[in-house]
């Protein structure tokens, strides 16, 4: 893993996960099984494969996916917090709660939902933030999990090389034919 250039790809994958999952509207693409998180993991692995001279192992794909997921979770929290404070993110939850309250047959449940909607609608920015932190945390963990899966899928999709080794450290015609032999007649040039 140390010989791989994975940090920049993981950052790009993390940006895809974090920003696209947090921004209302664009995040709707998550309608397909956490699509942005999967895509973030796949992109991170694809970019690493492009930069690597050797085949990427499945475990490395999972690790790169996990790194992208962690970066993505942090970015997601950073981007989502101002959106939560502004009240944009609670709208979708309120819609679902209103739908449930409308169709609930049980009057007691209806009353509870109505109260919950009223409470959620009248929350201050600080209250919204505090009440959303556990949800944000759960969502960040879910994103990490899905980016790991994306990393696994990325290796399956894009790693075509099987057991190929990186090119030799020395060029094939090393040492050059016109180069004088080493003095003393002992030792020799390193062979590739």
């Amino acid at each position: 893993m140390n010989d791989l250039d994975w940090k920049q790809p993981a950052l790009i994958g993390g940006l895809i996960v974090g920003i696209l999952s947090a921004v209302p509207g664009i995040s709707a693409v998550n309608l397909c099984c956490c699509a942005w998180a999967l895509l973030g993991g796949i992109v991170a692995v694809k970019l690493t494969i492009g930069r690597s001279q050797r085949p990427i192992k499945t475990s490395e794909g999972a690790q790169i996916g996990a790194a992208a997921g962690l970066i993505g979770a942090v970015i997601f929290c950073i981007v989502a917090i101002p959106i939560i404070v502004s009240g944009l993110m609670t709208n979708s939850s309120l819609k679902l709660m209103a739908w449930i309250a409308e169709r609930a047959n049980d009057p007691k449940l209806q009353q509870m939902m109505d109260e919950a909607i009223k409470q959620a609608a009248s929350q201050t920015a600080a209250q919204r933030l505090v009440s959303s932190l556990p949800v944000l945390f759960v969502q960040a963990i879910i994103f990490c999990g899905f980016t790991v899966l994306g990393g696994l899928l990325g290796v399956a999709l894009f790693e075509k090389r099987k057991g190929e080794f990186p090119p030799s450290q020395y060029p094939p015609n090393y040492p050059p034919a016109d180069y004088p032999p080493p003095p003393g007649g002992q030792g020799g040039w390193p062979q590739s």
């Binding site: 475990s59 939850s93 449930i100 449940l109 919950a116 399956a156």
Partner: protein, 184 residues
Amino acid sequence: MQIEAHITTAQPHKPVIVYAALLLVSFVWMAAIFAAPVLLADGHVLSAMVIYRGLAGICHQIPDRSFHLHGFPLAVCSRCTGIYVGFVVGLMFYPFVRSLRNQTMPSRNWLIAASLPMLIDFGGGYLGLFENTFISRVATGGLLGLAFSVYILTGMISVVQEWEVIRASRNGRAYLPPGECGKI
């Protein structure tokens, strides 16, 4: 001079543990999805809303596009439900179709082929070419979930085996894959 060989052999039960763990996690995930409407119907509003809001980041949760239980929508839409059910079904049937020790990743063409119906179903509905239905969303999602189960389980078993190799090499031991220990 005595030469001592340190050899680590692959533990044959490791793939079974990975399989069981993934199956357990998948069942818990499915249980959470189905528990949300049940909890809501039983009056446990707070617990139900934690599940609904927790999964809001990965699914649009539009009630009209979701299955209902006890009059309330599941925690994810019909397409996502199809994907997860397909994944669990795929995991359950996996040992009957393929050996758990087989670490060869199937051709990526199968994954692309399995995702095409869902992409067509989603794209056609999004562009207004045709109206997708509950059945089409569940069926195409389920097909992709089935494919995911094969790739993800194979990948996870490979990950555990590769970590075993790395751990063995760090301890200065040779690693023998399953079935090779009898040849020494």
